[in-house]
């Protein structure tokens, strides 16, 4: 009896201890989230300033981030513009044409690997296939470019879009396909006009998530878009981007540069968080409309 009691007590203590530790682990996670967001907000808001949006980085401490913001928008746009059609079509192939075939399964599998592949290596890949050839072709006058940066970001956005499109299309009920096919609709029309429309909000979510992912990406831009202290709208020119300027300014010894870097970090974080919020809203709105 006594041993039973003590065994029971020991098990209860162990249980309470483990559950308390699990709560502590969650609190640790939340604590770091709060700490990082709080510092970004605090340092960012105190450094935010009108000239941030009007002046370019060439002025250094007295300058802003206008060219970096424009550069980021252009590079991100190029990345999404390249990755979206390719990713959506590839996702459609996985879901509609190659579902359960060997090649389809392998590509779905490899896509998941590309999803977490080191972005810096993808940057070096684009350096090799875009920057080096353009340098050779133009005799060295065009080297790094915003376009190359966009291609690098497209490679990072691609697996996100492929995966969401694939998943969303597979969620479309097969009765829809059967109904369309029985009316004699060719498969390409079925895919483009019916299934894509049914899965539209899911695909948009994927594109938004991909945009959120690439807009904070720094590493691959260092040797593709490189950076530029002046405003440029020409995608074949060197181009700066917010993350790259943040990286450069944070490594600068000057305090004033750090403040600008924090302001940039604040802008990037807000942009990314709003995008992920927007993507959730798109998805949840769609769920409601189907109910």
């Amino acid at each position: 009896m006594a041993t039973n009691e003590s065994l029971y007590l020991r098990r209860r203590i162990k249980n309470i201890l483990a559950l308390t530790l699990s709560m502590v682990a969650t609190l640790i996670g939340l604590f770091f989230l709060a700490w990082i967001l709080w510092e970004t907000l605090r340092q960012g808001i105190s450094a935010i300033d009108f000239k941030l949006f009007t002046k370019i980085t060439a002025y250094g401490e007295d300058g802003g981030l206008a060219n970096a913001m424009i550069g980021s928008l252009i590079i991100d746009f190029i990345g999404i513009a390249i990755a979206t059609p390719i990713g959506v079509l590839a996702g459609a192939w996985l879901a509609e044409y190659a579902n359960r075939t060997k090649l389809g399964e392998s590509i779905r599998f490899l896509n998941d690997i590309l999803l977490s592949a080191p972005s810096i290596v993808l940057g070096l890949f684009v350096y090799t296939i875009v920057v080096l050839p353009t340098t050779a072709l133009t005799g060295g006058s065009t080297t790094f470019s915003g376009f190359a940066g966009g291609v690098a970001l497209a490679l990072i956005a691609l697996p996100v879009i492929v995966r969401t499109t694939d998943e969303m299309l597979r969620l479309v009920p097969s009765t829809l396909r059967e109904a369309a096919l029985s009316l004699g609709v060719p498969q390409w029309k079925l895919t483009m006009n019916i299934l894509m429309r049914a899965a539209r909000s899911g695909i948009i979510t994927g594109v938004l998530l991909a945009l959120a992912r690439i807009s904070g990406e720094t590493a691959p831009l260092l040797f593709t878009a490189f950076g530029n202290n002046y405003m440029t709208f020409n995608p074949m020119d060197k181009m700066s981007s917010l993350p790259q300027v943040i990286y450069q300014y944070a490594n600068d010894p000057g305090e004033a540069m750090h403040a600008i870097a924090w302001a940039g970090a604040f802008v990037v974080t807000m942009f990314v968080l709003l995008l992920s919020l927007a993507s959730r809203l798109v998805l949840s709105r769609n769920k409601v409309s189907h109910d």
Binding site: L19, G29, L33, I36, S116, P118, W188, A250
Partner: protein
């Protein structure tokens, strides 16, 4: 019968042209889609091929010694991969050591312990951590965490566990075990292998915990209820029922986190110190493959550039293998589920 069919045939004839056109379009469309899907394959092969091709001079010059050589000397044009390889492995290992138990705790709390109304908001908050760009982790690490670390955590570790404490008298554990070497350091700043490992751990916690949480929810309720009915406590159900059932996927999730940690660039570059030196101490600065590339590639030329490409190739191959294992492990549970 025969006559009837031949009578019907001409009626079908006009649509055949359209059917042929549709069939041709379908085939073309299928090829277009397949070509897009093959781009995924091409980018993986291309990334491996491009870095291998870029690194051919380094591999050719140094051969297998490249892997085991700790010198990285641009002055004499002599390069070895050991320092960055060690830095990458050490930081990722520390990150896993911290992130795995914490992630398990979070997944356990969110799937078994927390009241249902709390699960969604806390779960989304933890996932928010995964959405923060790595450059923000880097800045926070450089300006906030590294100074905090060098003011509060590092002196404590160095004095009680290190072999070079300020007092000059190392504690027993530091003098007689390897721990002393791990925590002994003369370096005064916060950037170190340990700092980078901690920042990496925070970055990969959301990835590992969300995989764990997801797979914990696939455990059949029947199985858990049976254990509860036999009188198991929540902890016993989690440890003896849930964890064994989901073991392969949990390992997959951990490897997924490892894959992230190995290739992470920005967060590490800021807090690792970028010193091309091999030190046994976790409190000394170091370098990782990704941070070395990020720091040196733009200004490198010739053999140095090739060596950096060779490093990138090594990184890509290792992360590919790690992620491959991760996906295979995750798939095992999915197969079990489908059965």
């Amino acid at each position: 019968m025969q006559a009837e069919q031949s009578a019907v045939a001409p009626v079908i004839a006009p649509p055949t042209e359209r059917a042929l056109r549709d069939a041709r379009n379908d085939r073309l469309f299928g090829w277009l889609l397949k070509a897009c899907a093959l781009i995924v394959l091409a980018s993986l092969l291309g990334a491996a091929g491009a870095t291998l091709w870029g690194g051919r001079h380094a591999f050719g010059t140094f051969g297998w010694h490249f892997l085991g050589d700790a010198t990285w000397d641009p002055g004499n044009d002599h390069y070895g991969a050991l320092v960055p390889v060690y830095g990458t492995i050490a930081t990722s290992f520390i990150a896993l050591l911290i992130a795995v138990p914490v992630s398990f705790g979070i997944a356990l709390y969110l799937s078994e312990v927390a009241p249902p109304w709390l699960r969604t908001p806390v779960g989304s908050a933890i996932e928010l951590l995964a959405g923060i760009p790595s450059i923000i982790y880097g800045m926070w690490g450089l300006f906030i965490f590294a100074p905090f670390f060098s003011d509060h955590i590092k002196p404590f570790l160095a004095n009680y566990l290190g072999n070079k404490p300020e007092s000059g008298h190392p504690t027993w554990i530091a003098e007689h075990t390897f721990v002393g070497k791990l925590f002994g350091s003369d370096y005064p700043f916060g950037a170190s292998v340990l700092t980078a490992g901690i920042v990496l751990a925070i970055m990969i916690i959301p990835f590992i915990s969300s995989v764990m949480r997801e797979v914990f929810q696939t455990v059949p309720t029947r199985l858990k209820e049976s254990a509860y009915a036999l009188g198991s406590s929540t902890w016993e159900v989690s440890w003896d029922i849930v964890l064994p059932y989901t073991r392969s996927a949990v390992i997959g999730g951990i490897f997924l986190g490892l894959g992230r940690a190995l290739g992470e660039t920005m967060a590490v570059t800021f807090v690792l110190g970028n010193a091309m030196q091999l030190s046994a101490s976790l409190l000394d600065p170091g370098a990782s493959i990704a941070s070395t590339i990020a720091n040196q590639f733009s200004e490198a030329a010739g053999l140095q550039k090739s060596s950096l490409m060779a490093l990138a190739f090594l990184l890509f191959v290792v992360t590919f293998i790690v992620l491959l294992i991760a996906r295979l492990m995750l798939r095992r549970l999915a197969l079990k589920e489908g059965r």
